[in-house]
């Protein structure tokens, strides 16, 4: 096998990130604790450089490289840029949080960047093995990140659960992939699709494999009934890591689903099969996520269930089986990721040394302490609840529209009614912030960068809500050009 220079062009962002992670790993060894800001800045710079390279190498077309292992298409470029933004925002939000908890060390940055690399590989995979490698790189970095606070019982427990269940899911995924390999004789996504389309593959084996693949996928999304790890990990992990888990990897998981289900198993004979599976997963996730979230007193746990319900919505977009539906799901997942960033960012803003603002009660009376951040949180909450004019509404609208287009009227009605239940617990946060008096009058301190970005994040939920057209168009065009 000979790789030409052209094979390397689409992979430049990944190569750059890999090189820079190694540089950061080594450079960090020579930095004293008070110089750690250098690592931080270098990490941000790396993400920025990757974004530039990704945009520059983007051709607006589908380019398969590395002998079919790797693909560079508009969807991957868009998602990668979103991942860089999400990860960089996460680093900025969490700076003071991780510093106060003694996690502001080289490992934190290298693990975060390795996780990013894993996501990028997943997003651009054109081969089951590449997909799996990306997933494992992401997962292993995440397990370590969750356990980064060695002395915390909660974090250790969360990491154990995450690791054991994650390994199980990876196993199922691999098993499913092996079945598909058995039926089609190939691991390359485009080839698999060709073989299935030619009708030579054994449908029974394919469906058998599909069940395992969908289960593995559902685990990564955190969809019911494969959601058990989500609340524990969100609650146990340091908030900075929970923030990372709940945002950028969802973008990667979306790409993962598109590559696996749509690009390789998207043939009509299999489409109807996974549509049904996703429909069950989507309804269960929306129902259980929204209903269980009501009973939570820990905001991280509540957000975990909220994530589960939102992933149900993403699955609803995916199962429509149309390009419009995929575009809607992509819009939904990107909106969710950025609103999620802001929400966890708010939790970290209220946290300080020795105090985790992770109870819902901690938001009580925020309007008295800081009207501006209460307003930011209000926008984020209404966005999660899907109330216009915030951006969350358009995400829901797009997905419902996609589902109805594909003839799933009943599912759309169920989704709408369940999101009404969801509105209740988001309202509770608003209620506590605005209607109650604060119990804790400590002024809110955070670095300027985090405050500025958080304000922007909250306002974006409103501004993108007032002019949502461009983001929808980007998602739609990315899907159209890639499939």
């Amino acid at each position: 096998m000979i790789l030409t220079a052209a094979d390397f062009v689409p992979v430049w962002p990944e190569i750059l990130l890999l090189v820079m992670v190694c540089v950061i790993l080594i450079a960090d060894l020579f930095l004293r604790d008070d110089q750690r800001a250098g690592t931080y800045l270098l990490s941000l710079l790396t993400l920025g450089a990757c974004a530039v390279v990704t945009v520059l190498t983007s051709t607006g077309d589908v380019t398969v490289a590395m002998h079919g292992m790797f693909v560079d298409d508009p969807m991957s470029d868009t998602l990668k840029v979103m991942v860089y933004i999400a990860v960089a925002t996460m680093l900025i939000y969490s700076r003071s949080y991780v510093t106060a908890r003694g996690m502001f060390r080289g490992e934190f940055f290298t693990l975060v960047l390795f996780a990013t690399l894993g996501m990028m590989v997943m997003i651009s995979a054109n081969h089951f093995l590449t997909l799996y490698l990306g997933l494992e790189l992401l997962s292993l970095s995440m397990y370590a990140l969750v356990a980064l606070q060695r002395d915390s019982n909660d974090a250790t427990e969360a990491a154990m659960k995450y690791f054991v269940l994650g390994a199980l899911a990876s196993g199922m995924l691999l098993y499913g992939m092996s079945m598909i390999y058995g039926a089609t004789g190939s691991l390359e996504i485009t080839r698999v699709a060709e073989r299935i389309a030619s009708g030579q593959a054994n449908l029974a084996i394919l469906v058998f494999g599909l069940v395992f693949v969908v289960s593995g996928l559902a685990f990564k999304f955190g969809a019911v009934p494969f959601h058990m790890w989500v609340p524990d990990v969100y609650q146990g992990a340091p908030t900075a890591v929970a923030l990372l888990i709940s945002t950028a990897p969802k973008l990667a998981a979306f790409a993962f689903a598109i590559r696996l289900l749509v690009e390789s198993l998207g043939h009509q004979s299999l489409l109807v099969e996974w549509q049904q599976m996703l429909a069950i997963l989507a309804v269960l996730s929306m129902a259980l996520g929204n209903i269980t979230a009501i009973a939570q007193t820990n905001i991280k746990r509540m957000l975990a269930y909220s994530t589960i319900s939102h992933m149900g919505f993403v699955l609803l977009g995916l199962l429509s089986g149309t390009i419009d539906g995929y575009g809607a799901a992509m819009f939904y997942v990107s909106v969710y990721a950025f609103v999620g960033l802001g929400t966890f960012g708010m939790i970290m803003l209220l946290s300080r040394e020795g105090f985790e603002a992770d109870r819902i009660e901690d938001f009580r009376g925020l309007n008295r302490r800081s009207p501006w951040y209460a307003f930011v949180m209000l926008l984020l909450m209404f966005s999660l609840a899907g109330v216009p004019p915030t951006v969350g509404f358009y995400a829901k609208l797009a997905v419902l529209q996609g589902a109805m287009d594909a003839g799933f009227l009943g599912l759309a009605i169920v989704a709408v009614l369940l999101s009404l239940i969801g509105a209740f617990y988001y309202l509770r946060i608003v209620r506590l912030m605005y209607f109650d008096e604060p119990v804790d009058g400590t002024p809110i301190v955070a670095p300027v960068g985090a405050r500025l970005l958080l304000s922007l994040n909250g306002l974006a939920a409103l501004v993108v809500g007032i002019v949502p057209g461009w983001l929808m168009t980007i998602c739609q065009q990315a899907m159209q050009a890639s499939l």
Binding site: F393, M404, I413, R431, F435, G469, M472
Partner: protein, 494 residues
Amino acid sequence: MSSMPLLTLAIWVPILAGALVLATGSDRNAGLARTIALLGAIAGFVVTLPLAMHFDVAFAGMQFVEASTWIPRYNVNYSLGIDGISLLLILLNSFTTIIVVLAGWRVIEKRVAQYMAAFLVMSGLMNGVFAATDALLFYVFFEATLIPMFLVIGVWGGPNRVYAAVKFFLYTLLGSLLMLIALLYLYRASGGSFAIADWQKLPIAMTAQVMVFLAFLVAFAVKVPMWPVHTWLPDAHVEAPTGGSVVLAAIALKLGGYGFIRFALPIAPDASHALSGFMITLSLIAVVYIGLVALVQTDMKKLIAYSSISHMGFVTLGLFLFDRLGYEGAILQMISHGFISGAMFLCVGVMYDRMHSRQIADYGGVVNTMPIFASFLMLFGMANAGLPGTSGFVGEFMVIMGASKVNFWFAFAAASTLIFGAAYTLWMYKRVIFGAIGNPHVAELKDLEPRETLFLALLAVAVLWMGIHPAPFNAVLEAPVTELLQHLARSKLP
């Protein structure tokens, strides 16, 4: 004038003024916040005046039309336009905002900027609801009004405010989410258009019409509110601060009636005809039964809240008679109810600010200490009871006339409100205002301050003007109502 985007101004001037008020920050700058809010409200009203001046009463279609692309992906447009019905509601809304700002001037002491901003933003959003000719734009404005109202009830409300605010929000959200499904269905059925005008022309099969109608019914019936989904309203009214009650009664409830006129009736005319008996029954139950419920209330605000529901029953009754008098009466009733119920809530507010009680039993003999106030309340009470010469009479009388053409017993049941309305209003008036001074607190009452006299006088003028000379209002409505009637007479079955 035609080059000015007047409707855009009517929407965004109050919203931007609200943002400006919000920027004054904490209560240290409360005075500044109040001043900016008043100027903003007046500016918001002034920009709607050219709409009235340049309005062409002979033209039935949309006027002052503006259109630009908003979400190209779903063919959603930022398209605005008004007919006579929307014109009246926009003017009512912008006028009410000034009153509300004045009413909250002295009374609201904590978080003044947020309070004023909430009302200004809400005013702009309501104008958006009345001006939108794109269904999704309508929906966005319709839903967005929930957020400021939720905060107004919850932050500045009474002891049970949290319950009332959450109930208000979830009730209305449930209705509007079902409407969203109907909107998406119509979007598909019309081949990818959100323009309300396209939907009104769209032929739809009967079953689908009924489904669409029911989805709209849930959304708008909750807003109006119609019996039996009215239970959120007394809670919301009792707990809301005076300004919140005024806007809720004067404007927010009109969103429901307006929705029927704009969506449910013209989009599903055959279903509307088929279900008119059902709708009339619900309306008459609201008129009669809720009227009786109002009679036994001991809390003044609750009494007016129930009276509000009873009067809004006339609106839905008028809309489903399919008769010219019914429509014009229903629309005039909406406007008149905006003035009267607003005024009644303000009067209760005036008393509450002095006595901190809304219980009828805590009052008695108020006329001895507050004669000017007693005269105002007399006028508004009479208007509420539907006395000829006040605005309350015009709409109700027209609806009753319309009903008598359809069925004598409808008219009979509806007319009973003239008795019940008089009974609960005047009985309350007697217990609160007349008699010997009930207790030492009443003896210490001070009559109206100039500010209070001002806003009550403005409303009194409106109530009398509309009662004595309703012709200009009728003139504006004639063309759109004629068109609506013609439209409804045609079947839309494919």
